[in-house]
């Protein structure tokens, strides 16, 4: 495993999360989505991203049971059944790009520290703050 991995950190439920920066395509403001029929409430709908139809998922509704008008969309690439898909996730705010020392990665504590534990890869400390590293492919965005 590489020593230093560059990550994008973002805020969700007052906690700091991190995701591999190589997955990120762009960051954009929340815009009005076209709803997808019969989709779960955390699926906000689809937007037009320069000619591609991209679904938008609100992680706050999905894992933390709160909704907010504020927020940003992180457009990123996820792997699903061997296929690459482009999706947008809505988070409270994007904070920074950092280097995470992967050698110092601690496994996530057993038990439910947050309801988001299913996609937590491990914990890493950056400049004294705890960052929760995420494995975005573990989130089942596409379930009915």
């Amino acid at each position: 495993m590489e020593e230093n991995k560059q990550i994008l950190t973002f805020i969700l439920n007052n906690e700091i999360y991190g995701v591999d920066i190589l997955r990120i395509q762009e960051i954009k403001d929340v815009e009005k989505c076209t709803p997808i029929p019969n989709a779960p409430d955390w699926t906000l709908g689809v937007i037009n991203l320069r000619g591609s139809v991209v679904p938008i998922f609100d992680l706050r509704r999905m894992f933390f049971n709160y909704a907010s008008e504020e927020g940003v969309i992180i457009v990123l690439r996820v792997e699903k059944d061997g296929k690459s898909k482009v999706v947008g996730i809505v988070v409270d705010a994007v904070s920074n790009t950092e280097f995470a020392d992967m050698a110092a990665l601690q496994p996530a504590p057993k038990g439910d520290i947050t309801s988001s534990h299913i996609f937590v890869d491990g914990l890493v400390s950056i400049e004294g703050r705890m960052v929760i590293l995420t494995d975005i492919d573990k989130i089942d965005f596409f379930r009915e």
């Binding site: 009005k32 989505c33 076209t34 709803p35 997808i36 029929p37 019969n38 989709a39 709908g45 689809v46 937007i47 037009n48 000619g51 591609s52 139809v53 991209v54 679904p55 898909k85 482009v86 999706v87 596409f142």
Partner: protein
């Protein structure tokens, strides 16, 4: 091997595969007995160019086999050998062997030489039966070879001949100077009994040419004449000694009238003037399709400003609208031509079928004729690729389960020979493909019993005839009493239906006991563009495929009937079910009172139903974007599109909506 050579090699392989397909289809139509020179020639040419290329690329295994093949074909076309069932079968087998060799070359695998050697021996045994030719590599086509003592040429210019601007006298003069011509005689006569008109050519010419002349040279002189401007026939003057001359004569007639079909099932042989073409990778075309799609979106975005300018009463409004109209016209034309690049004749899928019917019916000792119609119907390349497997499956089923053995047929008062008819045609914005057989039909009682045995149905369950037929599409279903290697493994019709649904199409079956079955496949013309009707439900926009809309009505209160919570609407004298989009999609949007909105009456397959919306908006062409690409399939939605204002709108899947009402 350098890069250029690799490119050539790839082209050679592609062409060779095409050549094999041509050989195969021509072999299948080759009647037994005296060979049809035209057909044998086509096969010969395919084998010959394969051999030529094999030498260039050092494909040694190929050279020897194609060489023997050529020798055999050469004997056939020169009339030394008749076509028999045995040697036709051997030729077909060698096509298979060649395909294996070429595939091995393509994948850089090693070649199983024993099979190749066995094939070579088999052909050599056949060859040994008749006079053995030393080297059969004659490259010249027979058109050039027969040295005949002369020709009789008949020229009758058509009414508009003078418009072609060709000086006939000059051509006749040139004819007399053609290589080998010793004497020409020209007789002028009145062109039929036409009334004399000053701008029509009233004269016709009969020319006798003597000397040792090649037909090709004569044809070259009259190269510029075609059926539009002049009817021409060239007949050799039969030399006294040659009895087989009949063949040559029929071939020498270059009458440009409709090409004579070799057999009712063959596709028309390509004319002498092939359109020139280039090979382009499908990726490049898809890129163009995408870009044109974006252009259409941009254009519809701009077109809104025309309306805006009108509202502003701007002085430049007319000019702007004119410009916008121009852009719209050109984008549409461009879109059509780009889409047409992707269109291919369905014959690419159909061409495999004669071989399959031939092989399977041979194995089952059945006598079956395959009739194909509408092979030139064009479909999108993607559709074509995904269509071949389902078609093969249905055809195999028809041959295996549908058509009975000759004795059984005779006992039932039917002709011994069964017929499978495969046809393609356009109907109402769709491409329809039908597979029709005059076999035994589907035994519905047997289907039902099997379904009960397999646990799909409960004993005593009452089902309609249509539901009964539809059981064959159930996964894991097969009625074949014996599982053969041809069909009957039960992986089949469900996959067929799934493939066709993936293409946005439908499949229906009609069957009549003892008379046969018809499988009807309906497919959209293209997967990329749709003529859409926009409709509003609350603040959401949905798109109907325009071709499916029959009419739209303002519902009248006294025509609405409620049956067990389901609403029906009396449209003239027929009750049609109503689907409410907001309920179906679980959206808290839009009008609830039926009389306040609109009922869009749509037709899907054989179902007619009403879809309740608030209002209808404009009609426009939309570019279909798959939701699967970044999301997943959504029930009731066939895709999404990007509207003129940049927002995304959902396209309705009427097939899935119609299943809701069942």
């Amino acid at each position: 091997m350098d890069e250029l050579m690799l490119v050539f090699r790839q082209t050679y392989l592609e062409e060779s595969f095409e050549g094999l397909a041509a050989m195969e289809s021509n072999l299948l139509t080759l009647p037994e007995g005296v060979p049809d020179t035209e057909v044998v020639n086509t096969i010969f040419r395919a084998a010959h160019s394969m051999k030529g290329g094999a030498g260039t690329f050092g494909f040694a295994e190929l050279i020897h086999l194609t060489h023997i093949l050529e020798t055999l074909l050469d004997e056939m076309r020169s009339g030394k050998r008749n076509v028999t069932a045995e040697n036709r079968e051997a030729l077909l087998e060698s096509v298979d062997v060649l395909r294996v060799i070429l595939t091995a070359y393509q994948n850089a695998e090693s070649i199983e030489m024993t099979a190749v050697k066995a094939m070579e021996q088999k052909l050599e045994v056949i060859l040994g039966g008749a006079s053995h030719q030393g080297d059969g590599t004659t490259t010249s086509s027979p058109l050039n070879t027969p040295a005949i003592t002369g020709f009789e040429i008949h020229l009758s210019p058509s009414d508009n001949y003078f418009e072609s601007g060709i000086d006939l006298l000059k051509l006749l003069h040139e004819l007399s100077r053609t290589k080998g011509v010793t004497k020409t005689q020209i007789h002028t006569r009145l062109n039929d009994d036409k009334a004399v008109q000053v701008d029509h050519c009233v004269l016709a010419f009969d020319v006798t040419v003597e000397g040792t002349v090649a037909l090709a040279d004569i044809q070259e002189v009259f190269e510029w004449l075609d059926s539009d401007n002049c009817h021409i026939s060239v007949d050799p003057i039969a030399p006294q000694e040659a009895p087989k001359e009949e063949v040559t004569v029929s071939q020498a007639v270059i009458s440009t009238a409709a090409p004579k079909a070799n057999a009712p099932t063959t596709t028309a042989t390509p004319g002498p003037q092939q359109e020139s073409s280039i090979r382009v990778s499908i990726g490049k075309i898809d890129q163009m399709v995408d870009m044109v799609g974006e252009l259409v979106i941009a254009q519809s975005m701009l077109s809104r400003f025309g309306v805006l300018a009108d509202q502003l009463n701007a002085s430049w409004a007319d000019e702007l609208k004119e410009g916008l109209l121009d852009i719209e016209r050109h984008t549409r034309a461009m879109q059509e031509s780009v889409m047409s690049i992707r269109m291919m004749p369905i014959s690419f899928a159909f061409n495999r079928m004669p071989r399959i019917v031939h092989d399977v019916s041979g194995k089952l000792e059945k006598d079956i004729e395959l009739v194909m119609e509408g092979e030139n119907t064009e479909v999108d390349k993607t559709v074509l690729e995904k269509l071949t497997d389902p078609l093969v499956h249905i055809i195999r089923n028809s041959v295996d389960h549908g058509i009975e053995k000759p004795d059984v047929r005779e006992a039932n008062g039917k002709p011994r020979k069964g017929t499978v008819r495969l046809s393609a045609f356009h109907a109402g914005g769709n491409i329809v493909i039908q597979i029709k057989d005059n076999g035994a039909g589907i035994r519905l009682d047997k289907v039902k019993q099997k379904a009960i045995d397999a646990g799909i149905l409960v004993e005593g369950q009452v089902i309609t005839e249509k539901e009964n037929i539809d059981l064959i599409f159930h996964a894991g279903f097969s009625t074949a009493d014996v599982v053969t290697d041809i069909s009957g493994r039960g992986v089949g019709m469900d996959v067929v239906r799934r493939n066709i649904r993936e293409l946005g199409g439908t499949i229906e079956v009609q069957t009549e006991q003892g008379k046969g079955s018809v499988f009807t496949i309906r497919l959209p013309l293209t997967l990329a563009i749709l003529d859409g009707q926009l409709a509003k439900v609350g603040d959401e926009t949905y798109i109907f495929p325009l071709a499916s809309i029959v009419e739209s009505v303002l519902p009248a209160a006294d025509h609405i009937k409620s049956v067990k919570g389901n609403y029906l609407y009396r449209l003239r004298d027929v009750y049609i079910p109503i689907v409410r989009l907001n309920e179906f999609f679980n959206r808290p949007n839009g009008k609830t009172e039926l009389t306040a909105g609109l009922l869009v009456v749509v037709e899907n397959g054989d179902k007619r139903f009403g879809v309740f919306v608030d209002t209808l908006e404009s009609q426009q062409q939309v570019v279909i974007k798959s939701l699967d690409t970044n999301y997943r399939k959504v029930n009731g939605i066939s895709g999404a599109t990007i509207m003129g204002d940049g927002r995304v709108a959902m396209i309705l899947d009427l097939t899935e909506l119609s299943q809701e009402i069942d």
